[in-house]
């Protein structure tokens, strides 16, 4: 039983990473209508920036995380301005943005490889909390707790921002129709800038936490989060951050339990079978609105 509970916590922590990443990915998709293949790179670059700043300036963990979040947000903003805004200006739809994002994915991945010397880097011990707590017989690492709590805080924060705030209304309006939003007094350009930054920052947060938790700061970090984050968004529902959070955690648990009780070989197969199942049977996801058009 304690093994089951231990793996359950491992699954929740892993799923929290997927969820956190998926929140940023889903935000861009649901509001800006961009299926951004380069989104994983924001996580990789956030972790790389946090790693180097922590090394160069001996930053404490919280400051390194803040640097990573900022780097992820700024990179997302930069890509949005260079890659996606010109497409929006010309009225291109999703396919053009997808192709452009694939190009940026390749470029940013290659640059990340150069930035890390093609190595997988690791945050040195002592630069992050690595205490092992025990809840009864069950060990829980400090990073697992931080990841789970971070995911909950970000999910609640984003949900309140989108559902309850004036800016959230503007986000939803821009996501539905930028021209109509502009007519009602919303500044679509400013709103899109903030959305791009928020999305990159959220996924950057996942990147830094993932980089520390998995002892892997490299271009492959974002790639591994990307597919799982996408699955979390599809399964949870494109336009509800709570769905993404729950689906991400569920995927993490499913992945860990499949490895523990079935076979690691089936792990990804089951995840993607679930993804396929939702795309076929319930394309709006668990929490998505019935009338939502992106799917």
């Amino acid at each position: 039983m304690s093994l089951f509970l231990e793996q359950l916590i491992n699954g929740i922590a892993l799923g929290s990473l997927y969820a956190l990443f998926g929140l940023g990915f889903g935000l861009v998709f649901s509001t800006l209508g961009i299926l951004n293949a380069a989104h994983g790179c924001y996580a990789s670059w956030a972790a790389i920036a946090a790693f180097y700043f922590a090394q160069w300036f001996q930053l404490p963990f919280v400051a390194a995380v803040a640097v990573g979040i900022g780097a992820g947000g700024l990179l997302a903003l930069l890509v949005d301005r260079i890659a996606f805004q010109p497409l929006r200006d010309r009225g291109h739809e999703m396919l053009g943005a997808l192709i452009t994002s694939i190009a940026f994915w390749i470029i940013l991945d290659n640059l990340a490889g150069l930035a890390t010397g093609q190595q997988s880097l690791t945050f040195p011990r002592g630069t992050y909390p690595n205490h092992l707590f025990r809840i009864g017989d069950i060990p829980v690492s400090a990073m697992q707790l931080i990841t789970i709590v971070s995911m909950i805080v970000v999910t609640v924060g984003l949900h309140l921002l989108i559902a309850r705030s004036r800016f959230g209304s503007a986000m939803r309006a821009v996501g539905w129709n930028p021209n109509a939003a502009a007519l009602s007094g919303v500044d679509p350009a400013r709103t899109m800038v903030v959305i791009a930054f928020l999305a990159g920052a959220t996924s950057g947060f996942a990147g830094v936490l993932g980089g520390v938790m998995t002892a892997n700061v490299s271009y492959s970090l974002g790639e591994s989060l990307m597919l799982k984050g996408f699955a979390a968004v599809v399964v949870g529902g494109y336009n509800d951050v709570r769905g993404t959070a729950l689906a991400g955690v569920a995927l993490g648990i499913l992945e860990v339990m499949t490895s523990q009780y079935l076979s690691s070989g089936l792990r990804d197969g089951i995840t993607y079978a679930l993804l396929l199942g939702f795309l076929l049977l319930r394309p709006r996801g668990l929490f998505g609105s019935a009338g939502y058009s992106r799917a």
């Binding site: 990473l17 997988s120 076979s263």
Partner: protein, 387 residues
């Protein structure tokens, strides 16, 4: 025969002789000139950290072969490079381009065994000599065309497993395996069979994938088997992740790694977590005793400002092997004559291991060095922890 006919015949005979002269084998060995070898780099992609080491070692060998006039005065090897990123499709494409360039006499490539498996039929068909510098699967060589300069880790894994299990008096062993890597699967099975024959029971095998980044669940699963020792058979990133996760989860017993933990960058990455984890190596810059080994280390450190690892040594030896083959050829070399020359090599004129032979196209060294990282980041001989 008229005079004009006779004159024409003499001129034709003289011309024919003059034209034929360069192709007559010279008793003086290899003619001066540059000889092109294809080198498939793996400086990008999932195992680029190892790829850079192979490439550095090869570059050093190229310079030494030239500066020492090893193959003869005015002779040198020139590497034509193509990057594969460790991808099979790109490797095949690169190989076809090397084959199409008739000035390339041989190719050296490949860290991953499946990639070698995909290019091997191509080189056999085209009769292009291939020297493998990194792939570890058994049975890849196929003389006279395909040779492997990789020191196979399998026999050394078994010896390490038996030694460690005996020293720590292990009764049960668990294994963490990168199940999508056939070479590691085979290595694990060989060690497991040897250990079981000595009475070490297998508590279980935990499968992971090479591309995995989170090993917390795998570590939990392996620890749940309550073994005396955990063996890790996985590529570098996965092995590092698994060791880190096991230690993070509080596993205090012995973890046995493999040769992927040998590069200096691994200690930089793992720090104190790497300390005390035994693994076998064929070459260690800290423990090399031969004069050639020490000279190689000094030259490498001077040029690349880092210490060479086993991958650097294998890249270096691959070039020296080809140079030895070229050196033994009289006259202008061809792919066929180089293949034949390589097939005759049974011992190495220049090697950094202090003893290396070639048997059926496979390079081999004797003895097994079981080492671990010390707290100050040096490779030292492993000794069982005192309880």
């Amino acid at each position: 025969m008229s005079i004009s006919h006779r004159r024409s015949f003499v001129i034709a005979a003289a011309l024919a002789t003059a034209l034929a002269l360069p192709s007559v084998p010279s008793a003086q060995g290899l003619p001066p000139g540059e000889y092109k070898i294809g080198f498939m780099t793996e400086n990008t992609g999932p195992i680029a950290s190892a790829g850079v080491s192979f490439w550095n070692g090869a570059q050093l060998a190229i310079d030494e072969v030239k500066s020492r006039a090893y193959m003869g005065k005015g002779t040198s090897i020139v590497l034509q490079t193509k990057e594969s990123g460790s991808e099979a499709a790109r490797s095949i494409q690169n190989m076809n381009q090397f084959i199409a360039d008739r000035s390339i006499l041989a190719v050296t490539c490949c860290i991953l065994s499946p990639v070698v498996g995909s290019v091997k039929p191509v080189v056999l068909e085209a009769k292009m000599p291939l020297v493998i510098y990194g792939a570890t699967a058994v049975g890849l060589p196929s003389p006279p065309w395909v040779y492997s300069m990789t020191i196979l880790p399998g026999p050394k894994d078994i010896e390490t497993g038996l030694t460690v299990a005996s020293e720590i008096k292990a009764k049960t062993a668990a294994y963490i395996l990168a199940n999508d890597n056939e070479a590691f699967r085979n290595r694990l099975n060989d060690t497991r069979t040897a250990l079981e024959a000595k009475g070490v029971r297998t508590a279980g095998v935990v499968n992971v994938l090479t591309k995995d980044t989170d090993f917390t669940a795998a570590a939990t699963q392996a620890m749940g088997l309550k073994p005396d020792v955990i063996f890790i058979y996985a590529t570098q990133s996965a092995a590092v992740g698994a060791v880190n996760s096991l230690r993070d989860r509080g596993f205090k017993q012995t973890i046995v790694g493999n040769d992927v933990l040998a590069p200096e960058t691994v200690f930089k990455r793992m720090g104190q977590t790497a300390v005390g984890v035994p693994f076998p190596v064929s070459f260690s810059s800290a423990l090399a005793e031969s004069a050639e080994g020490k000279a190689f280390i000094a030259a490498y450190e001077a040029r690349f400002k880092s210490t060479p690892d086993i991958y650097s040594a294998q890249g270096y030896q691959a070039i020296w092997f080809i140079a030895q083959g070229l050196k033994s050829i009289s006259g202008t070399p061809t792919r066929a004559s180089l293949a034949e020359a390589l097939s005759k090599i049974t011992s190495f004129e220049h090697n950094v291991y202090g003893g290396e032979i070639m048997k059926n196209g496979q390079a081999q060294t004797t003895g097994t060095l079981i080492v671990n990282w010390s707290p100050d980041g040096k490779l030292v001989r492993w000794t069982a922890p005192k309880n």
